[in-house]
């Protein structure tokens, strides 16, 4: 019995590894798969099967957190809003996707750019960082598991966090 419990615990530990995998050097194999991405569902004849390419950081907490950081660093926030709520660029946390919601479609949107404002980032930022952004953008709409998706910012919480609250004088409560 004890052995089984230890085995299950070990298996659970191994399963949790992927969530925190950090790739500092290697480029994910799926990088640069943008060729062949369709921007429309209209096809002559019978529609071809869409080949789904996942971001290597799909369920990876670290990758998504990096994506969140890059979303601010590369000024995505400037047009899409701090949390992807949308401003002069379209919102990213809703379920409307102008150029497709598949990971490879989001990848090519970032890489190639899109008319009327979306700059093309291909060649300016490395492919694995685009995949991090893809994973983060997908997590905005709730597509990523909660245990891996980046948490809300402090300023989105319903109450001001203690560390940022100003001084409040102590209040007399209870019996004197």
């Amino acid at each position: 019995m004890k052995r089984i419990v230890i085995l299950i615990a070990a298996a659970a530990l191994v399963a949790a590894c992927e969530r925190e995998t950090r790739r500092y050097q290697e480029l994910p194999a799926a990088a640069n798969r943008e060729t062949g991405v369709r921007l429309t569902v209209l096809q002559p004849g019978a529609p071809q099967q869409h080949e789904t390419v996942q971001s290597p950081y799909q369920n990876n907490a670290w990758g998504m957190a990096q994506g969140k950081r890059l979303f601010a660093s590369y000024n995505c926030v400037g047009c899409h809003g701090v949390n992807g709520g949308g401003a002069i660029g379209p919102a990213l946390k809703d379920d409307k996707w102008i150029y497709g919601s598949h990971p490879d479609q989001i990848y090519s949107t970032i890489s190639q750019g899109r008319p009327d404002g979306m700059p093309s980032f291909g060649g300016h930022i490395p492919a694995d960082q685009i995949w991090m952004l893809v994973a983060y953008v997908q997590s905005m709409g709730g597509a990523a598991p909660k245990d891996a998706a980046p948490s809300r910012n402090d300023d989105q919480m319903s109450a001001v966090p203690e560390s940022r609250a100003g001084f409040t004088p102590p209040v007399q409560t209870g019996h004197r």
């Binding site: 950090r22 050097q25 660093s73 300016h124 490395p126 560390s163």
Partner: protein
């Protein structure tokens, strides 16, 4: 560079702190020698001589020992409070204001000025004038860091969402090392800071030189390097005033060639190390936020040629 040590003070505040350190050291040394000596004496005399009627002597001895301990502790407390007061009462007139922001894993340094064009931004290097108080405002861009320049001052944390202030004054010129003293992630150990204390006239010259934008590239290779820098991945994060690169998520490189280290004190700033860093920063400092750039050989040499002009 001077040895990084609290016991080699080179500033007013550090001198006060090191005085307290020596007071505590000698007080504790005397206590240690007395206790160790007393114990040796007791061991030598053994238990045979303990007379049964020595209760009163024992009581007296314990009383004396307690008294001495209390006096010693109050003495140390008194010295400690005096040190705090001495630090608190230092004049900050005609002080220089510097803004230091800690990031994973480097320091952003900004010399404040009411006129924006007279501000100076640099990274991982703090230049201060000798004999003039410097007020360092400390912010953090991500997690909690701590700035510690042992030869000049005690340490203080950089807390996200808060402003902390450190006052320091160097009393002799020299190059000192500072570092992050609060664990802040994978590369905490490679988050150092070079502090250069110069005589006021040399400092002013440095400040004036750093206000200038980067000089235009001279030869064709440098021109090509600037082009690669502006068009490639570099410009996504770095700023070089005087070029099209104007991002502020990574260290400012306007005068990078005048700095003595790269990667926040990780390596000396030479052409070879810089090349290694640009090609694969993840090999040198795994986990830092600069990705491998993937520049071709020709592009790399051109960028190096250009960066070397940024004195």
């Amino acid at each position: 560079m001077h040895i990084q040590s609290v016991l080699h003070p080179a500033g007013v505040e550090a001198g006060i702190v090191s005085h307290l350190w020596w007071v505590m050291f000698w007080t504790c040394a005397v206590v240690w020698v007395a206790v160790a000596g007393g114990m040796l004496l007791a061991l030598r005399r053994g238990r045979a001589r303990t007379a049964p009627g020595s209760e009163r002597v024992l009581f007296r001895n314990v009383l004396v020992a307690t008294g001495i301990s209390i006096v010693a502790l109050v003495w140390l407390l008194f010295e400690s409070v005096l040190t705090g007061r001495a630090q608190e009462n230092l004049s900050t007139q005609h002080s220089l204001h510097i803004l230091v922001t800690g990031y994973q894993w480097w320091w952003d340094v900004e010399y404040e000025n009411p006129t924006p064009s007279l501000r100076v931004t640099t990274a991982n290097e703090l230049h201060i004038p000798v004999g003039r108080p410097v007020i360092v405002d400390l912010f953090s861009g991500d997690v909690i860091h701590s700035l510690w320049i042992p030869n000049l001052q005690g340490k203080i944390d950089l807390v996200p969402g808060r402003l902390n202030t450190l006052t320091l004054e160097a009393d002799r010129p020299g190059v000192y090392r500072g570092q992050c003293a609060e664990f802040c992630g994978a590369q905490h150990a490679h988050m150092a800071l070079v502090v250069v204390a110069d005589p006021p006239d040399i400092f002013e010259r440095w400040l004036t030189a750093n206000r200038a934008p980067a000089p235009p590239p001279g030869n064709p290779s440098q021109v090509r390097g600037k082009e690669v820098f502006e068009r490639g991945p570099c410009a996504m994060c770095h700023n070089i005033t005087g070029s099209l690169a104007s991002a502020h998520t990574a260290p400012d490189l306007t005068h990078v060639a005048s700095r003595s280290t790269i990667g926040a004190g990780t390596l000396p700033n030479t052409r070879g190390y810089l090349a290694g860093w640009i090609v694969d920063p993840q090999h040198i400092k795994p986990g830092n936020y600069m990705p491998p750039t993937g520049l071709s050989d020709e592009e790399l040499q051109a960028v190096l040629d250009y960066l070397e002009t940024l004195k």
